[in-house]
Symmetry: C4
Amino acid sequence: MTAVTDVQETLAALRREVCALHAELTRYQLVVWTAGNVSARVPGRDLLVIKPSGVSYDALTPENMVVCDLDGRVVEGDHAPSSDTEAQAYVYRHLPEVGGVVHTHSTYATAWAARAEPIPCVLTMVADEFGGEVPVGPFAIIGDDSIGRGIVETLRDSRSPAVLMQNHGVFAVGPNARSAVKAAVMCEDVARTVHISRQLGAPVPIAPADVDRLFDRYQNVYGQR
Amino acid sequence: MTAVTDVQETLAALRREVCALHAELTRYQLVVWTAGNVSARVPGRDLLVIKPSGVSYDALTPENMVVCDLDGRVVEGDHAPSSDTEAQAYVYRHLPEVGGVVHTHSTYATAWAARAEPIPCVLTMVADEFGGEVPVGPFAIIGDDSIGRGIVETLRDSRSPAVLMQNHGVFAVGPNARSAVKAAVMCEDVARTVHISRQLGAPVPIAPADVDRLFDRYQNVYGQR
Amino acid sequence: MTAVTDVQETLAALRREVCALHAELTRYQLVVWTAGNVSARVPGRDLLVIKPSGVSYDALTPENMVVCDLDGRVVEGDHAPSSDTEAQAYVYRHLPEVGGVVHTHSTYATAWAARAEPIPCVLTMVADEFGGEVPVGPFAIIGDDSIGRGIVETLRDSRSPAVLMQNHGVFAVGPNARSAVKAAVMCEDVARTVHISRQLGAPVPIAPADVDRLFDRYQNVYGQR
Amino acid sequence: MTAVTDVQETLAALRREVCALHAELTRYQLVVWTAGNVSARVPGRDLLVIKPSGVSYDALTPENMVVCDLDGRVVEGDHAPSSDTEAQAYVYRHLPEVGGVVHTHSTYATAWAARAEPIPCVLTMVADEFGGEVPVGPFAIIGDDSIGRGIVETLRDSRSPAVLMQNHGVFAVGPNARSAVKAAVMCEDVARTVHISRQLGAPVPIAPADVDRLFDRYQNVYGQR
């Protein structure tokens, strides 16, 4: 099998995976209409696969996913890519360990983002998945590098795979697209639970040493080996 | 093909579209029982297509959609039209750029409406879709022109495609029925997110110049060309 | 056709209808597990058809619905009837215009009930469907007539087809089982919307004369004739 | 039929039941991603059947359920068992009347748990199912006996089949897996309703004698005999 065939098969598999993962965004009600998307890095290539812009989730197919280079220019595909492509391309350029990016405006996480307030680490699930509070990134306007830069600078100072962009929404990352989707799902879940807890009083903090123990264990022991 | 055939085909297509769009109202839980509806203007004719009154969403078919003139009188159909027909007909008579109207009592938007309080523009999504706060229209009783007049007067002073009618619910408009449904979906989404954000403090405002930049970009760049 | 056949056909139809209407309780998330039920009066007979006790909604069939007399004793059926049968039988005995009763512990309505606080009439939908505030009935323990009596005494003083039983949940009535289900669905919807509105301030009241106009119109004009 | 065949049939039946019951966790939205599980004791054997770790609910089959001894060691199965297996095994070792255990991080119950605040008994449904307030267990870190011990010590002092583990989530028990799932569903339902009621004021308490009467009746009369 030639290298060309290899990359075509990898691309075909990523088109199927990226397309299918959008069903998790709707299943967990992280998105309405067309307002959220998933992308994946093409391993070993300066390429990414991403949702087309403004196409409804019911109409997504592996074929209408868009392949772009890491400057956000379309390489393959008949559709315009997500309007978040530039921000996500920036993340792939600057965080080589990232293999997947998800963007949502999920309700509770975006509610924290609108107040520019991080989600405090008061649940074992926050410690497990985020290793501390879920941080807030800057207010940034779409159209240049400022969203991508805000994501990267915030995530570099944190163990969290998710960032709440002020007044905007969530960007979540992971070693692959599926883990980024998981981080987006978990981010909304803890945003909701901590919000509701706070409505009637003050949640009990978790000691930093316990946060570390929980995070280490979850990253290294949980799931199938 | 004759002009008569043309209008029949247009009407048949609009009956299918208006019928199908109600599934978005239930999908996003903007309505319960029979309390919400979609209509479309028949292009180039003084006619509209609208949901029948009090018929459950499961029972809607293209055939039981009702065609009315722009005074709300039934032109074609065996059912009584939605009790909101007069208000929507008023909108079509007075706002020629409107091709679709949606009415819901969606929970969070109606909660703002019950306090006669506009939804402030504290999310990029509000700036994108509504170009500023989502405005409140007057308290108006069904049965004369007062609802339609309240909608039109409020929308004329705003870039928003949705208005919160005091103590009542949402009316959303668009160049076609699908865009009006999108505005209704987005209106509930931002009503919910801003509500939740406000429960635990004050959301950060977005500067008016940034609101303008976001609105202009979204109206002109987003989606497929 | 003989009178015996007539009543058997009526019963078979009511078994199908009562069974099917439980799907509206789950659709609108008014119930969890087995905690809610629908009943219908058998017209012209001192009988009612009701859900079996503790049977999950997935397992309901027309055949396992239970026929009881208006003292709550089983007349036909292999299952024990709902534990709310006595209360509902009391309602049928004392309110001859009632043809259907629904009981739920739907979340928002029960939250008002736990505070013994009526839902104020601050939405046109409350005026339309309930003709004023949704009233609260007394705290009453299951096992004697006190729940049924509390429902009847509260509804007699109100235009509302639903009552919030203190610390307990909702009972809704109507001329038939379907209209009682509608009242239960609407009760939760307005309980939720008014709750959410009140969380961030004071909803605007609706003038009593406007409540009357809305109620009269909705009862007499809405829907298909 | 030999004893060996008997236990194999029991195990096969429990694998099917435990697998199927996870659909109730997703139906009632008690879990996201893979964060929750059900287990059952194998009657008359020192064994339990439990969900595999980190496997999504869509991918569960009777075959990938894991059989462990009551020290949490895998006896049968190709997958690693839930990371909660040790805690649940501890419960089975110390509470012989328990035949099923469920763990979730359901939103409203976990919100109470984050404040280390029991759910007060202000609804007849709380009295019916929990016989008083839903208690809070200690903060405990995964990895030794402390979660299991916290569950057991808290449940021993209470009539409640559910405990809110501080900063963590819910553990629910029952004579079998289905009743444990029911307790988990009811726990979230009452956590939500009481939370919402408290948001706008103080729910009315229920007198202890009435709590006892409700609990006794529900445990002894409700459902099919």
